[in-house]
Amino acid sequence: MKAAVAVEEKLVRVLGDGGRVDQGKDPGLADRDLLTLYRTMLLNRLVDERMFRLQRQGRIAFYIGSAGEEAAIIGAAFALEDRDWVVPCYREFGAAYLRGFPLRDFFCQVFGNADDLIRGRQMPVHIASPRLHLLSVSSPVGTQIPHAVGLAMAARIRKLKEVTLVFFGEGATSEGDFHVSMNFAGVFKAPCVFLCRNNQWAISVPGTKQTAAESIDIKARAYGFEGIRVDGNDVLAVYTTTRKAVEKARSGGGPTLIEAFTYRQGPHSTSDDPRSYRGEEEVEEWKKKDPIARFRQYLEARKLWDEDRDMTLARELNDQILSTLKEVENIGPPPPETAVEDVYAEIPWHLREQREEIIRRAARQRQSWPR
């Protein structure tokens, strides 16, 4: 049997070997844009590395990263305008950062401290920002997908030319919410782009056990719209493909499913050791196809980049990461009163009754912060 979701044929590709690009396929992005993409991808990688270290040091409880998937995440988000919406899964920090989510806010969220925009309510990386048209990350797999379709339907009802981009993994395509959402999007011609990061692993379960279909993109056909399979480690291919889908959605052409075929280089999260379920050789093979390295080759071929600049940038970004971390690491927890807020717009009597005790207990827990 063919490794079902591993077929590499018919992948949309722009970046060729050694950074060469087929002239006809180059999206013709300005140098500045290319460098923004590269900088964001590298920052994402360095942030992840730093966060994994913090977790091992016991300074944060949990982390979930994007290593290997930066091209899929950032390339897709780059195809949006500010007025568009991003509905993230839990690996989309890079997309949020690209849209203007400050590093400081991100670290405050990871610590769940007093400056955390979501007031210490969720695990690390579960960000949200209405200002940036970024919905709230939810842990349950796939539940965000119908929200994206609803946003897109609302934009249509209100005659706004906004497009919604929703991220999820290939594991999520087994959930009912995925199918229900694809169906609604097709029926309502919702201006929605579905981006499946097929990183081939859902924790320890390979993609071949999620579906008997030969690939994910073909599932769109049954819902009456187009599916496209793109090389998810090729940032320009992801960008061009998403751009086309976004334009199509914006002009009333309805939804598109994009399968970005990529690889999760790291563990699922800080809670697992992938050596217990997959071979090192496979990981090494995919590290050779690393999306950041591949894009760098392209930039070098275009004489936009070189090793010196790369080292300087990495140093600069690491400095920024460290100084921002330093800035926020001594911020205390949110005020205890916040423990009963935001359940409702106003605190109802039964919560008001519990309020004092919650606050007292939160104040006590506060003494051993950050635990």
Partner: protein, 324 residues
Amino acid sequence: MAEMNIIQAVNDALRVEMERDERVIVMGEDVGRFGGVFRATQGLQERFGPDRVFDTPLAEAGIVGTAIGMALHGLRPVPEIQFADYIYPAFDQIVNELAKYRYRSGGQYTCPVVIRAPYGGGVRGGHYHSQSPEAYFVHTAGLKVVIPSNPYDAKGLLISAIRDDDPVMFFEPKRMYRAAKGEVPEGEYSIPLGQAARVREGDQCTVLAYGAMLHTARDAVDLAAAKGIGCDLIDLRTLLPFDIEAILTSVKKTGRVVIVHEAPRTCGFGAELSATISEKALLHLEAPILRITGFDTPFPYTWERAYLPDAERVLAGIEETVAF
């Protein structure tokens, strides 16, 4: 004022709110051209157009899930779930998403969705057209739960629910949809969520009920009155947050409590009421708190009338409590 039944009152509330606020939209199975299997949305699509009143594919998780997205965009969706028995496919979206969006985003987002669903038995609908699932939702932080018993309340409470910035589960007593009639004012008025109504006054026993069972309880209370037993009958109207003041004021006067609901007994809403009353008014009680409820079996088909509390059972409960 016009005489209306509950269906007409619900329809009128939707119409009034849709006229007032263009963000209000109605969606669900068969709610568009057909106007809903119970006709609650009749004529709305004609009046407000298919962008604001529309049929969805047959998938409750999708109805609620997309309504959440629309609310996050700033609309005020009022999705209909055709029968409360079919709400479970949307349970995850309601409990983990809708109810939690405000809290988990640190108050940055709100999700003002009102989910309407006919609930309850008495229509020979068997297990899958008769359930009363309110307790699942009362157990969920972030939701409000409302159950009207009559047309006047149905309209006023639905208007409040639509204007509320939090998600509201709005369960409508389908058995009383056409049977309960009453005067309903034209145009706008609202009944605050969280306020109960005293329907009968007496000082020997407090009877707590809501929805279709309010009518059963009222019959029982009237029979008791004829026998010289005076009861306070309280229509709770909102289950979460429930009107603790109205309940305690009455309980402190009567010292005796009978709770009536048709949902199964174990962990039903009556359990919460009973526990709260014991915690707050134990020394005022003259008798154990009694629950007259549906049984802990699936909702039956043939034995429906045996299953549902009736006035006779409630009256017996009142007499037992008063005689204790």
